[in-house]
């Protein structure tokens, strides 16, 4: 435990490409970094039983999710000697084509950044108390399962 303050990862609604571009731009001062790996989750226009996905509405057990992410952050940063690690997940409604997940790892060399990013994606999908409700174009909805 490095004791850094708990960071919020939740963003209301979609994550904007401008926000992502700005985040990348700010890393030009991180001159120890030689490699950045980014994962973006985007709402896919899936077709299921003749319905088409229009959006996903996310909810979370926020306090628990932030505690879990914080523990995972510290483990992953040390394990891969990361320069930095940023995680953002949407809450509320995110429409088809919009971004709901943004993971950004930086390290001196590519292997650490790429491996860490992949591990964080798996963690977020499997371990984080977040739920997605899929909303179809006919307004019918059902709970997503990963």
């Amino acid at each position: 435990m490095t004791g850094e303050p708990v960071k919020n990862i939740f963003i209301p609604g979609a994550i904007s490409p401008v926000f992502i571009g700005d985040s990348i731009a700010r890393h030009n001062t991180k001159t120890d970094a030689g490699a950045h790996s980014i994962f973006l989750g985007q709402i896919r226009k899936d077709r299921q039983e003749s319905k088409t996905v229009a959006a996903i509405e996310y909810s979370a057990y926020e306090e628990m999710a932030l505690e879990k992410v914080q523990e995972m952050r510290e483990v992953i940063i040390i394990k891969h000697s990361l320069t930095c690690l940023h995680i953002y997940h949407s809450l509320g409604l995110v429409k088809v084509g919009e971004i709901c997940l943004f993971i950004f790892t930086s390290a001196p060399h590519r292997k650490a950044a790429i491996d860490a990013c992949g591990e964080v994606v798996e963690y977020i999908k499997k371990e984080l108390p977040v739920w997605g409700r899929i909303i179809f174009d006919d307004a019918f909805s059902r709970w997503k399962n990963n």
Partner: protein, 77 residues
């Protein structure tokens, strides 16, 4: 004694509530039993349990002020 139960996702729909309060409940097994009595549909639900934001895997004694969370399968990202 006061126990807060937070309910998420499809379970919140099933129980028509996202938060419940319990007065007399000694452990998580008893809590689940009381919930099943009150909400028969809850019997067939799939969920994990967290006490004070930590996942538990077996029956766990509850103390005054504990928060129990009922967590259906995660589907973030």
């Amino acid at each position: 004694m006061e126990i807060t139960v937070k309910v998420f996702g499809q379970l919140a729909e099933l129980l028509s509530s996202s938060q419940l309060e319990f007065e007399e409940v000694t452990d998580t097994d008893e809590l689940i039993h009381q919930l099943q009595q009150k909400f028969p549909a809850f019997r067939s639900a799939t969920y994990a349990i967290a006490v004070n934001k930590k996942m538990i895997s077996g029956n766990t004694i509850l103390y005054h002020g504990n928060t129990v969370a009922l967590l259906p399968p995660f589907s973030g990202g």
